[in-house]
Assembly symmetry: C2
Homo-oligomer: 182 residues x 2
């Protein structure tokens, strides 16, 4: 098993996240001995669309990408739609690309990548409703369970979680990727 | 009062619509004596996010823009996210532009306009989370309660419904607009 004992990972989400898309990456990362912080727009607890609750470690106002080795973006349409409205969440996300650090987005989690303006010439997948938005943001969109493009890991739905988690662990273990940039 | 007695209007929506963004335009159009059909992806009833129910007159597979004088696109994040996945809904929407007919979209209702590829050089507003997506689709995005651009009427949220309904009634009364095109 890969050890990520020296890694600290940020999961960025707000209310309405797809529960399994937060809990599965979280448990896989903890199993690989990574430290994980939930980052959100407000302090306290956030609630998934099916009722899971997660404690916020830091707000986007207080979080700094320099303190983390990678970023995970769960989906859920309401979560994906809301989190992109927070300018600090957008700049936090963009900083991981500027620092060449792995980013993993699933389902509706990828919308914020359009706002962060980091998709030019990258190959991604997502929940299919985002296809036009991600293409218009400069990406090549493909319909595959997981796409890995130099530190950027993307998947479509909760059905892809096995492949998504395997690849995000791999990319985080590898560390910084030159092609992961702004 | 403007009479729209010779007009037939399509409201395109699916489950998860913002109730007031369907019911207010519907009641205003009926008050102005227009005929109104709810168009959706499946036959039967559709349900708003707050529980309002509406009977579907025709499915997107059976509906033809030639039979209608204008199109209304209610919001609701789940509705806006789902309806754009239906290719027949996208081509139905695009046909109103090809036929120079008024289209009114509020809140998250405007996402499908990106898929329909009809926003190049048009000025619009929307729920603010769509700003990047509509800009990347070629639009100029502005933060106003209602924007009217040659037959294309757009608003941000339910708070804008008074202005939105006034302008959509005006544009429908005027009929076809040369600048409303693909």
């Amino acid at each position: 098993m890969t050890h990520l004992a020296d890694k600290r990972i940020a999961i960025l989400a707000t209310d309405g996240y797809e529960d399994s898309e937060l809990t599965r990456p979280l448990s896989e990362l903890l199993k690989h001995e990574a430290a994980v912080d939930i980052i959100s727009t407000e302090p306290g607890m956030i609630t998934g669309k099916n009722g899971h609750e997660a404690r916020v470690a830091r707000t986007t106002a207080d979080a700094n990408a320099e303190d983390y080795d990678a970023l995970v973006l769960p989906g859920g349409v309401a979560n994906g739609d809301r989190i992109r409205l927070d300018e600090q969440a957008v700049s936090f996300t963009r900083s991981f690309f500027a620092q060449h650090k792995p980013v993993a987005a699933i389902c509706h989690g990828g919308w914020i990548l359009a706002d962060a303006d980091v998709l030019e010439n990258r190959t991604v997948t997502s929940y299919p409703s985002l296809k036009t938005d991600l293409r218009n943001a400069g990406a090549t969109w493909v319909d595959e369970e997981v796409v890995v493009d130099q530190g950027l890991v993307t998947s479509r739905t909760p059905d892809d979680l096995d492949a998504f988690c395997d690849k995000l662990i791999e990319e985080i273990a590898e560390g910084r990727h030159h092609g992961q940039t702004v």
